[in-house]
Each structure stands twice: as structure tokens, then as C-alpha cells.
């Protein structure tokens, strides 16, 4: 079959995929569009039933309110710091442990892995009180360490990367080992670069979760100077009244950096790595 014909027929078959993806995307994005529209309504209008679709007056002041109600820039820096440190630590620590679970045989490997998984099997709210007490014993309340340290360890990340390492063909690592490299070198020089897609996915998700983490910063912190953005935004909710347009505006502003990071990172999700040189 000639190359051109094949490509042509493939192009022709693309439109159903596009149709499917577009319909799905519209359904997916609609609730978010609603969020955007609500953030541009006045408080009064946002409480109306039935709700108006388009704002009667486009009210940009909700965004200004967010900036005037919380120290946005300051909290932004806190969030960024907390998120970057947590993400970097997780990528390193999880991949090390994951590699050991995937490729090294040692006594107790099964039970230890099970213990890692067990952490995923209980609701996160359970950890609040004990972790708070540890932080207090360490004298870390109201500190950056308190925000970062418990979030550096992840059973999820270890499990995810273990799956990636196990899915990799062993041939390359075998070659390195035969050259006399120790397990850390094989992990660092050979396996880690190959697991890049997994690291990317874990990085994006950790970044996201850390960025949105709310409960822990609120519990371990009383100092506004150490609050991340998510916690600052949560404090915009009053006890009897919630100004939804402002809340939505704040939520969108807080989300924006995550979307930017995703758009930048997702470009790397293009076709797998070619394992050149592994043939034979």
C-alpha cells in the first residue's frame, strides 16, 4: 500500500475522533464556564433563582475584592514555595523507593510495600491530629517546615512509579549492571530517564494537590504570614454568608497557575520515547 494513500485515509478517519473529543470537551468545560460567569455577577444577581446565564452587568470588582481581602501576592509565594519543595521531594524520594520495590530483591520487600499501600487505604482526615501533635512536639507550628515536610512523602507516588519501572524493559539496565554499576547508579543514570513520563505525571498531580491543599495549612498555621493561597481563599467564606462570585473569582485566580503549569508540561506528553539502541 502506498504511503500517501494510507495517510489520506487516516486523515479522513480523523473527523469522528474530533467530533467525539469536542462534544466531550464541551460537556467537561461547561461547569467551569459557569464558574467564570458567576465570578462576573454581582452578589445580588448570583442569588437569583432561576439563575441568569450571562451576567446582567459584567462585574469585574469581584476580582479586585479577592486582591483586597487577602494578601494575594504574599500567599502566592508561600504556595509556590510549599508546592515546589513538596513536588521536588516526592519525585526524588518516591522514585528511589519505587525503583527498589521494582528491581531489587530483598527480604521483607512484599510486606513493606503493603505497608506503603496501607497508607492509601484510610481517609486523609485521620492524619490531621497526630501530625499536628508531631509538629507541636518539634516546635514547628507556624513554620514553612510544617507546611512542607509531611507532604514530602507519598505512598501514591511510590506505587505509581513502581508500576512505571516495572513496565520498562530490563535490557538496558541489565547492560549497565554488567558494566559494574551499582544499583543507585543504574537507577539514577538509566532507569530514571526512562521513567520520565511517569515522573511528569506524578509531578503534575503532586503540584496540583499541593497547590490546592487546604485543611493541613489551616490546621497547622495561625500566622497569616505563613498561609498559602488555598487557605486564604477559604477564609473568604463567612459563617452566615458566602459571597459566591468572590469565591469563584478567587478559585479561578488560584487555579490559573496550575493551568499554566499544565499547559507548559503537557507539551511533553507527545509520543513516547523511542528506545533507540535497545534492539538486538
Amino acid at each position: 500500500m502506498a504511503e500517501t494513500t494510507r495517510r489520506g485515509s487516516r486523515e479522513g478517519r480523523r473527523w469522528p475522533a474530533h467530533l467525539l473529543l469536542t462534544v466531550g470537551a464541551v460537556v467537561t468545560v461547561f461547569p467551569l464556564l459557569w464558574e467564570v460567569l458567576t465570578s462576573l455577577k454581582s452578589f445580588g444577581e448570583s442569588t437569583r433563582v432561576p439563575p441568569t446565564i450571562l451576567p446582567r452587568h459584567w462585574d469585574w470588582s469581584n476580582y479586585a475584592t479577592v486582591f483586597s481581602s487577602i494578601p494575594f501576592a504574599h500567599e502566592f509565594v508561600n504556595t509556590l514555595l510549599m508546592t515546589l519543595l513538596r513536588t521536588a521531594a516526592q519525585l526524588l524520594l518516591c522514585s528511589m523507593a519505587a525503583y527498589a520495590f521494582a528491581r531489587i530483591r530483598f527480604p521483607g520487600r512484599g510486606p513493606i510495600f503493603l505497608a506503603f499501600l496501607a497508607v492509601l487505604m484510610v481517609p486523609g482526615e485521620l492524619f490531621l491530629l497526630p501530625q499536628y501533635q508531631i509538629m507541636q512536639d518539634l516546635g514547628w507550628l507556624n513554620s514553612l517546615q510544617a507546611l512542607v515536610v509531611p507532604g514530602m512523602f507519598s505512598a501514591f507516588g511510590t506505587f505509581l512509579l513502581r508500576q512505571f519501572f516495572m513496565g520498562l524493559p530490563v535490557e538496558l539496565e541489565e547492560a549497565a549492571r554488567l558494566d559494574g554499576a551499582n544499583p543507585f547508579t543504574v537507577y539514577w543514570r538509566v532507569a530514571l530517564p526512562l521513567a520520565r513520563p511517569g515522573l511528569l505525571a506524578l509531578g503534575i498531580l503532586t503540584f496540583l494537590w499541593s497547590w490546592n491543599d487546604l485543611m493541613w495549612p489551616l490546621v497547622v498555621n495561625t500566622d497569616p504570614a505563613q498561609m498559602p493561597l488555598s487557605a486564604g481563599l477559604a477564609s473568604l467564606q463567612g459563617s452566615h454568608l458566602t459571597d459566591y462570585p468572590v469565591l469563584m473569582a478567587g478559585s479561578l485566580l488560584a487555579t490559573l497557575p496550575v493551568i499554566v503549569v499544565f499547559v507548559a508540561m503537557q507539551r511533553h506528553f507527545i509520543q513516547g520515547i523511542a528506545f533507540s539502541g535497545m534492539k538486538g
Partner: protein
């Protein structure tokens, strides 16, 4: 042509999942996966993550197990009560009801995984235009604050003025009160659950797709395998570790679903518990939260969590057993 389409001899073929246990070749293959045998390296690499998890996460789990055998008050006072909390648990209709609700939710959300796979495969097509835009759009729900998500979905589902019912009325169907009708609440909640997790699973599966060496596809295509057959003979087996991961994780996370359902049922609008569909929507972790943080019966709350833990552990163990039948490692 036969079903068996090995790409070519030039490239290591995707290995077929191991046959019957005890098969010597399969065992050897599994053995080979472990490149290194130096146990000290193993412990050293695991230590940093392991110690952190042990201190901050595992210890609280052990404590909870202990407290589940106690009366545990709001400010930490404890009295040993033996199996009393567990006896209450097995006779508590609310627990069993919430367990049923959670199971239904989990099954419905699992149906989202094939959808995520379809999405990931489409968005990984070579030369497909606009994939970056699509990926971002599908990922957006994952990024959004649950509180905002719940408010918006509650509007869509609103029985009197919701857009869903307005659309249905155009075709002459009279919609119901989706989130306050016991008959529909499971589906209404699960749709939001799928909506929120599709993008998340898509990311993981996309990453999995990229770990598949291009050479396999080239080889398969030289061998005359069409797109569909390539999917079944190359993509699916090589993606199976990631599919396994998303399935295990989906089960674990769905069984612990809490804030999403809580918010959709209207807890943040003042409705919450008075929602006529509350008992049909309430999940196990919602019940735990109610007992532990609200009713101040923390010992009983701990027992609920421990029971759920055992259930999740058992289901995960079964999945790890069954993976030998379909998951394929390199």
C-alpha cells in the same frame, strides 16, 4: 491471519502474561525482573520515603486501630471497651446502608476508566491536531476547587430551574430532583465523580502510553497489523501496568469518597442531612466523619475506618492476585 501477531523477531515481543503458576519459564522471567540482589541497597533506597511515611502516616493508622477498641472522647480521653465498637458497627443499619452506597458509587466510577483510556489513546495519536488543547480542557475539572464544582453541579441538577431539566423539558420529559431524589442520587453523584476523575486518569494513562517504545508499533505495522490490532496486541498489554494502577487507585479512592458527595448533597448550602436522599447518598467516610468529628464518638469512628480499611485491603489483595492473569510487566 491468526490472532497471534508478534511484531517481529527483531524486537523483543510484548510478553504474554504468565501462564499457570509453577510454569518454570514464567517464574524465571519474574525472577529476572529483579536485577539486583543487594538487600542493603534496597533498604537504603526505601529508607527516606519509608521513614517519613512511617512517622507521619503509618503510626496514625496503628493508633487508630488501637482507638477502635476504646471509647475515645473529643479531647483524647480513652477507656478500653474491647469489641464494643465493632458490635455496634455490625448492627448499625446506617453503616451497612452507607457501605452499599459506597459500593454502587465505586462500580459506577470504575466505568469511567474505559472512557479515560479512549481519551488517552485518541489524544496520543500521532499527528492529531489540537491534542494539547483537548488535554488541557479535559484536565480542567481535576484542577477546580471541589467547593466550586459542587455549587455549579447543584445548579445543573436543580429540579426546578436546573439546565438539565430545562433541556429535558424541550423534548417533553419531566426531569426529577436529581440530587434530592433517592432514585437518582447515586447516578447524579457518580456522574460528577467520573467527570472529575476522567482527566486525572487520562494523565496517568497518557504517561503509560508514552513508555511504550515506538519500535513495537513500527514492527507491528511492518508485520501488517492494523491500528485496531496494534491496540490489542501492543498498546493494551504494554499499558496494562498503568491500567492496573488506575484501577487499584480508583477502587481505593472511590471507597473513600467524601467531600464531593458531601457537597453535592448540599452540606454547604444548609441542606445536607435534611436532604431526602441523604441516606441513599451517604458514604462510609461521611459516616465516619459524622461520628468522629461531629457526634464526638471517635472510638466508633475509628472502628468504621478500620472496617473500611480491611475491606479495601482485601479488595486490593484480590486485585494483586488477579493481575497475574492480565498485567504484563517488561
Amino acid at each position: 491471519m491468526s490472532i497471534d501477531t508478534r511484531p517481529t523477531a527483531a524486537v523483543p515481543a510484548p510478553r504474554v502474561p504468565a501462564a499457570a503458576p509453577g510454569d518454570a519459564r514464567a517464574r524465571r522471567r519474574r525472577e529476572r525482573r529483579f536485577l539486583h540482589r543487594d538487600k542493603w541497597w534496597g533498604y537504603a533506597l526505601i529508607a527516606p520515603a519509608g521513614l517519613g511515611l512511617a512517622v507521619f502516616y503509618l503510626w496514625p493508622v496503628v493508633e487508630t486501630l488501637y482507638y477502635s477498641f476504646n471509647d475515645w472522647g473529643a479531647f483524647g480521653g480513652t477507656t478500653w471497651t474491647g469489641l464494643s465498637n465493632y458490635r455496634t458497627l455490625v448492627t448499625d443499619p446506617e453503616f451497612w446502608h452507607s457501605l452499599g452506597n459506597t459500593a454502587i458509587y465505586t462500580v459506577l466510577v470504575l466505568l469511567g476508566i474505559p472512557l479515560s483510556m479512549l481519551l488517552a489513546v485518541l489524544l496520543n495519536l500521532k499527528g492529531m491536531r489540537g491534542t494539547g488543547v483537548y488535554r488541557t480542557l479535559y484536565f480542567l475539572p481535576v484542577v477546580t476547587m471541589p467547593a466550586a464544582v459542587a455549587v455549579v453541579w447543584r445548579w445543573l441538577y436543580n429540579g426546578d430551574v436546573g439546565i438539565i431539566n430545562q433541556a429535558l423539558s424541550v423534548v417533553g420529559v419531566h426531569g426529577t430532583y436529581w440530587v434530592s431524589d433517592p432514585a437518582t442520587v447515586h447516578f447524579a453523584v457518580a456522574v460528577v465523580g467520573v467527570w472529575m476523575t476522567v482527566g486525572y486518569n487520562m494523565i496517568l494513562l497518557l504517561a503509560g502510553l508514552q513508555s511504550i517504545p515506538q519500535d513495537y508499533y513500527e514492527a507491528a505495522s511492518l508485520d501488517g497489523a492494523g491500528r485496531v490490532r496494534q491496540f490489542f496486541s501492543v498498546t493494551l498489554p504494554l499499558l496494562s501496568p498503568t491500567v492496573f494502577f488506575t484501577t487499584v487507585l480508583s477502587v481505593i479512592q472511590s471507597l473513600q469518597v467524601f467531600d464531593l458527595v458531601y457537597l453535592i448533597l448540599g452540606a454547604n448550602t444548609g441542606a445536607g442531612i435534611t436532604n431526602p436522599a441523604y441516606t441513599d447518598g451517604e458514604t462510609v467516610v461521611m459516616l465516619f466523619f459524622q461520628k468522629a468529628f461531629y457526634d464526638n464518638q471517635r472510638g466508633y469512628g475509628a472502628a468504621i475506618v478500620c472496617a473500611l480499611f480491611v475491606l479495601i485491603l482485601a479488595l486490593t489483595a484480590v486485585q494483586f492476585r488477579l493481575q497475574k492473569r492480565w498485567v504484563h510487566y517488561g
